[in-house]
């Protein structure tokens, strides 16, 4: 491929006891794309992105990000390098205000820029909240907001980290149809400034957003290709229907 | 004294210490195992057991044995009832949140201790042993009652083991310990189990106290030492593991008796506390926990 590889894994594996949750995965992402990661329950999707984000350590294999081996880098340092992870289950700080939630991310990102101050943080927070459309709620306590807004806040926190790679773990879960629609617009907008790795069950969303789809099953890559390729792939159908 | 006889004495003392410690620590371990509650007031239940024993024994002016055995029955019951009530009134309302229950049991510690101070007073008071029999060995004498305590503790331990592993009650408790929600899904009233376990844990401490009080006297501040030692034993043995608790109590009891002769007892305490702390940090399942089961 012509474009630069942003992230790649080689032989990445993670075993829990006898279970091979992620098994020898070679995976590459190009800069600027929207990649969807799909697969049936228990296929190892969440384990795989946890390995990318550094939440768990791999049993074998290596991860490279921007040409640098990050396999042994602790999670917080990967974030500083530009990998942001938003949680599958909403994981905001419910007792803090929306502003403070995002300010934490902004603060983390701004450490890369020396001599930034409180007003720089505020500026970044405004920008991130503006992008997800939560600007007028910055004074609210995050936990009191509606679920859909909490998901957006989660994304804003990811954005304020100024990631090069944004991992969205089931972002549309629990959202209503209209919310999903605006969410898709948001992801497309995000993709103009960052590479997006999307784990999603909602196939219409995947089909609409993804440039490339990777299908995991039993911890291995079952298929990879454009949405139309995947739609036509018999093995994928089989995996979903439980015969694989 | 020559080393041989000395070792014998240290062993006897160590066994006595271990016997009492096992019972006390078992109570703490049971409560932690089943309820996941760290009961900081455990030592006060021990103290309460001794104080109630004095009170019961002093009501019977017949042969000391009558008072003692009456205390052995009544004291654990009263202590158990108090523990039961405090579980219902306090711990249950906290929903067994680990950190809140620690703070609450610290509060209970003071409440029990200070209430005893108000009612029983600050003196150390003796309870007569059911019998006095001094065994004269060639090198030193030893109290026959101490041997009785060791034997009684072994009998009690076997009883606890039997209840836990061979009875319905034990099965219910173990099921609750492993998966509280599934226990509920199979009709086990876990709230009642919790209250019972908390009371039973306190009763074990109380029994240990009744056994020891003819040797050590009842005093309102006597609860802190057994508490810390029980913590040490439970951590070493693995939180919630019965077999580990017994092994650790023997280890601590015996080594304490022997080490403190070669080193200062304070130094022995410093070293053992430090070691146990490091065990908790670096091997949180305990030395004999989990895998030994």
């Amino acid at each position: 491929m012509a474009s630069v590889s942003l992230l790649s894994t080689k032989g990445l594996s993670r075993h829990f006891g006898g279970l091979k949750a992620v098994d020898n995965v070679d995976f590459t992402m190009r800069e600027g794309e929207i990649r969807a990661l799909i697969g049936p329950n228990g296929a190892g999707k969440t384990t795989f992105v946890s390995l990318l984000a550094g939440r768990i350590a791999p049993s074998a294999g290596s991860i490279e990000f921007l040409g640098k081996d990050i396999t042994n880098l602790p999670a917080h340092k990967r974030v500083r390098d530009g990998i942001a992870y938003t949680f599958q289950i909403t994981s905001i700080y419910p007792t803090l205000t929306v502003f403070d939630n995002v300010a934490l991310s902004a603060q983390s990102a701004l450490r890369r820029h020396p001599r930034s101050n409180q007003s720089d943080i505020a500026e970044k927070v405004h920008e991130a909240l503006g992008r997800v459309g939560l600007e007028d709620r910055k004074g609210e306590k995050a936990g009191t907001m509606a679920y859909g807004h909490q998901r957006l806040l989660e994304v804003a926190m990811g954005l304020a980290l100024e990631p090069k790679l944004l991992i969205l773990d089931e972002p549309t879960q629990g959202l209503s149809d209209s919310e999903i629609e605006s969410f898709c617009r948001l992801v497309k907008e995000i993709a103009t400034s960052a590479t997006v790795l999307l784990i999603e069950h909602n196939m219409p969303v995947v089909m609409q957003l993804a440039d490339t789809i990777t299908v995991l099953n039993h911890g291995q890559i079952l298929a990879e290709g454009s949405p139309s390729d995947i739609r036509a792939n018999a093995a994928v159908q089989a995996a979903y229907l439980g015969t694989g | 004294m020559a080393f041989g006889p000395f070792l014998l004495l240290a062993t006897l003392e160590g066994l006595l210490q271990a016997a009492v410690l096992t019972l006390t620590a078992l109570g703490l371990s049971l409560v932690f195992g089943v309820m996941r509650v760290v009961n900081v007031a455990h030592g006060e239940f021990y103290m309460l057991g001794a104080v109630v024993a004095w009170w019961v024994a002093s009501m019977f002016s017949l042969h000391p044995a009558v008072g003692f055995f009456a205390a052995l029955v009544i004291s654990p019951l009263i202590v158990g009832a108090i523990a039961f009530a405090s579980e219902r009134l306090i711990l249950k309302r906290l929903n067994y949140d680990p950190e809140s229950t620690i703070v609450a049991t610290i509060g209970m510690l003071y409440i029990i201790q200070q209430t005893v101070l108000l009612t029983y007073g600050p003196d150390a008071r003796p309870v007569s042993a059911p019998f006095y029999y001094r065994i004269q060995l060639p090198w030193f004498g030893y109290s026959g009652y101490n041997l009785f305590v060791i034997a009684a503790a072994i009998v009690l331990l076997l009883a606890v083991w039997f209840v836990l592993s061979r009875t319905r009650l034990g099965l219910i408790m173990r099921a609750t310990q492993f998966d509280r929600e599934m226990a509920q899904a199979f009709g086990i009233p876990i709230e009642r189990v919790y209250a019972f376990v908390f009371a039973a844990g306190a009763m074990l401490a109380a029994i240990a106290a009744v056994l020891i009080v003819p040797i050590r006297q009842a005093h309102y501040l006597m609860g802190l030492d057994p508490l810390l030692l029980s913590f040490i034993v439970v951590i070493l043995g693995g939180l919630g593991s019965l077999r580990g608790t017994v092994i650790a109590a023997l280890l601590i009891g015996l080594s304490d008796g022997i080490i403190s002769v070669f080193f200062s007892p304070t130094l022995a305490k410093i070293i053992s506390t430090l070691l146990v702390t490091l065990v908790l940090v670096f091997k949180p399942e305990g030395l004999f926990g989990a895998k030994a089961r």
Partner: protein, 232 residues
């Protein structure tokens, strides 16, 4: 037999069930289908009293049980086979079954019948259940629930992670139970499994039953699946 109507369940401040309704009749298998997090497991947990229900009602044989404490519900005859089996893994097979027997003081007959369904467990009564193979564990989890002699059985993804042969065994047992007249509420991801044993199925989305229909409808129109579950 079992009737859930307009049930709300909160988890923290967010609603995981909002207005869930379903009924399961004697001698039928109702299968819940839906995406991850749609509220299937929560529905089962709410019926067992393990998830706190807000508004709504749960009736068993016409009796309202939603106010009962969790431990009293199985005593009315609801057997639960949870996701991930959740055996008392440090207890032996026999002890796990004993706990089931204790729930409603089942007669010995129940144990005999249960073991006759799972002969492999009969051979392993003394074994610590955590050391069983995955399939055996699933058998034990099911057997444990059967030991309470239930009228209603709730099964949460019983075939998850099992080998095909084991899946067949579980399926056969479910069919046997249905034929015995028990009401079965099944959560299942594998459409194939659903098609082979369910009588009716129910799509769950956003904590609510979106559609209930006989399984024939799904057989006739597989696109229903992608519409509701988003597969394919």
């Amino acid at each position: 037999m079992l009737e859930v109507s307009d049930l709300d369940v909160y988890h923290g401040s967010s609603k995981t069930l909002q207005g869930m309704s379903l009924t399961v009749e004697k001698g039928e298998v109702l299968c819940l289908l839906g995406r991850n997090g749609a509220g299937k497991t929560t529905t089962l947990r709410a019926i067992m009293g393990l998830a706190t229900a807000g508004a709504g009602s749960i009736r068993l044989d016409g009796t309202e049980i939603s106010a009962l404490p969790a431990h009293e519900r199985p005593r009315l005859g609801i057997g639960y086979v949870p996701q991930g089996r959740r055996l008392f893994s440090e207890l032996t097979v026999r002890e796990n079954l004993e706990i089931g027997m204790m729930t409603r003081r089942s007669p010995q007959r129940v144990l005999d019948e249960t073991l006759s369904l799972f002969p492999r467990l009969q051979e392993r009564l003394g074994q610590v259940s955590g050391t069983l193979s995955g399939g055996e564990q699933q058998m034990l989890a099911t057997a444990r629930a059967l030991c309470i002699d239930p009228k209603v059985i709730l099964l949460d993804e019983p075939t998850e992670g099992l080998m095909p042969s084991m899946i067949a065994t579980i399926r056969d047992v479910v069919v046997t139970l249905r034929n015995q007249g028990k009401a079965i509420l099944l959560v299942e991801q594998r459409v194939e499994a659903v098609l082979s044993i369910a009588d009716r199925f129910c799509f769950v989305e956003n904590g609510k039953a979106q559609a209930v229909m006989p399984v024939e409808a799904l057989r006739a129109d597989p696109s229903l699946l992608s519409r509701y579950v988003g597969v394919g």
